[in-house]
Symmetry: C2
Subunit: 373 residues, 2 copies
């Protein structure tokens, strides 16, 4: 790995992940402004960037806390809060003893909350917290549509919340939801978000009547980020991708081309096959994720060659159909790719390159990379 | 990252990559025996395991050399040859100055060959080798069907080979091909491999008449590994996946279930949604690669629950449809997954766990992980 700090855009070893610093700041600040103007807390999901440096910027912009998927990702992010109190949400069920023990230990170092949806998770975290002498905040997970995690009904949610209040070492803090099924453009989101709001209104009412805490009601996603005010029960939202954006958010209508803050720099390594060039960014760099709003669009977009299509990826090769390009890319040429889904691409890099407006590049460590558990 | 060497299969943090040591040795030895009995050199593609320890086993079993995709992967593997001469093939075009310079430096430390298919690659490597005072062996790449890299005709191959012989710092060593388009079962491979053999026979004849060296004619893939003798022009073959195997090779009919030597260990983290459980191995562990011979089969196979289907992956979640399972998996239960495509899964792990027949687990460093350039 060559982390030469004198790297330039022309000499950087490829494939490389480029991060446009100015756009990152603009994306962070826009979301922070939206949250402030609507009284909604921003609790960014750091899965997208996995970077302490960017987490610091999000905290500086007023984030109420940071979200992670796994406890291993939380540990390197505590420093993002500087001298202030650290506040981390693990948006993932903790059910096994090894992970529960790490969660409980971390709760001795910061305000730590976990989202969970089973009695087994309650037992695992409660047991570990009791042993560690810590208190873990719990948000009970309600499925509002995506069908991934979360209990299916308000009745089941209230039962789960009651169980939390009876478990040692746990503090019921409220409700967790994820409107990940809503991929429609902002103009079309009012109806589905109204259904989410109706469900949450019922849940909040039931919590209030039962005397159950709902200090935190955490939801949100990047597609619905700027419509979060349509779910007034939410106290905070957890967009992740919006810090960088990608072809998913661009094609979905959730950002403009100027908001794309992370791209892959690749080199054309072959033009031996007619009508095609090969780039040195394969599935080991771009992943095999499709573009959700445009699944047949290929494996990323080349802004300099909009007529080109990345038709096939193998681990180290991207095969690009250039038959529609007025002027084909040349072997050795460096191309920028907008990936379909930026989050797993970031996880494939040890270091990204933070680009300043003057073009200078600085290594950006992906602190949370590969922290699977 | 918890690399506790007292980890057991019941306490290992999940998701984790398990490697069955006995099966790895059996897979390596079977291929070595096949090569010996047919007089075909084995030059394993190390992209699958990216591990110095496993590369040592392959060299000990008689490999004529090792294959890598990128020069960064080659560097940690030199030690695999112990006191013997190191022999590395970079099965990837080198066109940019930064990479060419690393290739040329490495050629001062071992027998190094590159496959290439453009004049730009010849110029880049020749320039770098001249500056480094090294000699880089070249195999000229002929497309025998997959249409990924390689020149399209024997005429073009001869022209490219002639250009190599005129370039300083380069030594023409022969021909490179990759029958990656042949995914049919062994019984069906005779015809397509005959076509490859016919093309190579023509190329070899033309090389001989022009006095061009073809000391090395390197081909092969895992699907065609045990039919390599049907292409008698090949001096060596480069199977990668066969060291571990995966659902691709199992469903394709290229191995048996007992040959699967690498699996993912995952934990059931949620059963809140009816008819479904969620595992803690998402696309960050399994990748979004489909099974080539059975693309609609889901994102991996659960041997203990053959009726289950992994229907959807997000980064940290595998959603498993368990409606057909006589007895559903329980929250907290640990399950083994056979991934669709093992190679990119290995690249997502810093450490795998080598399992001995007695069940003991030993950390196995993935030395080549993340070496993108």
């Amino acid at each position: 790995m060559n982390h030469n700090i004198n790297a330039t855009i022309d000499t950087l070893p490829t494939p490389a992940l480029l991060v446009d610093g100015q756009r990152v700041h603009r994306n962070i600040n826009r979301l922070a402004d939206y949250g402030r103007s609507h009284g909604i807390g921003i609790r960014p999901h750091t899965k997208t960037h996995k970077s302490l440096a960017i987490a610091r910027h999000q905290v500086a912009a007023g984030a109420v806390g940071l979200t992670v998927a796994k406890v291993g990702e939380a540990e390197p992010l505590l420093a993002a809060f500087g001298d202030g109190p650290a506040d981390i949400l693990i948006a993932y069920p903790t059910v096994d003893p090894a992970r529960a023990s790490r969660v409980a230990d971390l709760a001795n170092r910061c305000t730590l909350r976990v989202a969970l949806d089973t009695r087994q998770a309650i037992a695992a975290v409660a047991g570990a917290a009791s042993r560690a002498g810590s208190t873990v905040g719990v948000l009970v997970d309600l499925d509002v549509g995506p069908g991934r995690t979360g209990v299916p009904s308000v009745d089941a949610l209230v039962d789960l919340a009651e169980a939390v209040t009876h478990a040692p070492g746990l503090r019921l803090d409220g409700i967790f939801f994820y409107p990940g099924h809503i991929w429609s453009e902002p103009a079309e989101q009012a109806d589905p978000l109204q259904r989410v709001a109706d469900t949450l209104a019922e849940a909040c009412d039931r919590f209030d009547r039962a005397g159950l805490s709902r200090e935190v009601v955490s939801g949100g996603s990047t597609p619905t980020a700027y419509q979060s005010h349509l779910v007034p029960q939410a106290t905070d939202v957890r967009p992740g991708t919006s810090v960088f954006n990608d072809l998913n958010t661009l094609r979905g209508g959730f950002c403009s081309a100027d908001d794309i803050a992370a791209t892959i720099l690749a080199t054309v390594v072959s033009d031996a096959v007619a009508g095609q060039v090969v780039l040195d960014a394969g599935s080991k760099t771009l992943t095999s994720d499709r573009c959700v709003p445009a699944p047949e669009s290929g494996y990323g977009f080349l802004p300099a060659y909009p007529e080109a299509t990345i038709t096939k990826l193998t681990e180290e090769h991207a095969q690009v159909d250039i038959r529609q390009c007025p002027k084909p890319p040349a072997v050795g040429e460096r191309l920028t790719i907008i990936p379909n889904h930026i989050c797993p691409c970031v996880n494939l890099q040890d270091v990204a390159w933070w680009q300043e407006p003057d073009g200078s590049l600085h290594p950006l460590t992906i602190d949370g990379r590969g922290r699977l558990s």
